[in-house]
Symmetry: none
Subunit: 160 residues, 2 copies
DNA sequence: CTTTTATTGACTATATTTGACCTTGTGACC
DNA sequence: GGTCACAAGGTCAAATATAGTCAATAAAAG
């Protein structure tokens, strides 16, 4: 269980909770109102959005300024058509930092492509702590490993 | 003989005591607070963690910096036959060739410690084909990764 | 006396919080 | 239509709050 002791974590949890309670898969709210609710600087909301609601984590944020302005936070599902290939092509590339890898793995766990145990297992060996001193280009290795894992997840003989 | 009166030992004993009293199998605390409690340098805490709370001794440590930062010390679950600890001990400081790794993984799959999918997943990224050109000491990395995986298999907080 | 283990502190890395300033959209007024 | 006030949201950098690393030194063990 997270300590939830800092503001950013509490705002994140709040947004995820109401996102989970809604039917449409997105929520619309105002930055200033939310900032008031948590008695914080409005820019704190941007901080939470940019660190917790990224594309890798499966979210899309739209907004509008001016009168009637708003924030819309959308929870994305995976495209069932060729999802692995799309993920590999769009999100991995030639380099994959520890943080981006973890986000991606969490996302694949949410989509039930990995079990919790598999997610922990993969994250454990993708850690900089494990790779850094033995691998000059750790991000290149992570990218390669992640692609290899995803390719193997497509094997037919895997669910026997 | 240890005098049992040095700081590191007392901090170790303290952490193990509160770990034993908790229900969840892990504790969360702050490095600075603990250092204050023992009136020592914060880095002393890191020393204790790296020397006493290692995977081979049955612990995992996770942490986070910045506001709301914390240390989480996880006590690994019981391993009655000491199988993992023995495997880890054998692998410490050793090298693990692709062939030996594959044999070990197959054995753990037969013993139903890994599912077929997990075995395929691990083997896929342990291949020399994946590691060789990016990792000067591929066997050292495999040994380290394998230990890390085994440690994580003992976590109580993953429901296997 | 030598080797191993423990202690400390200076420096580094990372995450969060806040505030001053910037940009864009809307509508009233001319 | 142009301009202006106001109502959003955006950006960025400084201040603050944590934790990590490393190397020098001290203490203990052998």
């Amino acid at each position: 269980m997270r300590t939830m002791s800092n503001l950013a974590d509490r705002i994140e949890a709040y947004l995820k909770r109401i996102l989970g309670e809604t039917e449409e898969g997105y929520i619309v709210l105002q930055r200033g109102t939310l900032a008031d609710y948590f008695s914080c600087a409005p820019s704190q909301i941007n901080y939470v959005l940019t660190t917790r609601f990224t594309a890798e984590k499966g979210y899309l944020v739209e907004s509008r300024r001016g009168g009637g302005g708003y924030l819309r936070i959308i929870k994305l599902g995976l495209d069932p058509e060729g999802k692995f290939q799309r993920l590999m092509a769009e999100l991995i590339g030639e380099e994959l930092s520890q943080e981006r890898a973890y986000n991606l793995i969490d996302r694949l766990e949410e989509e039930e492509i990995f079990t919790k145990k598999e997610a922990i297992l993969i994250k454990s060996i993708f850690a900089d702590r494990i790779l850094a001193d033995l691998v000059p280009k750790a991000s290149a290795l992570r990218a390669r490993m992640m692609k290899e894992i995803l390719a193997n997840m497509c094997r037919d003989d895997i669910n026997i």
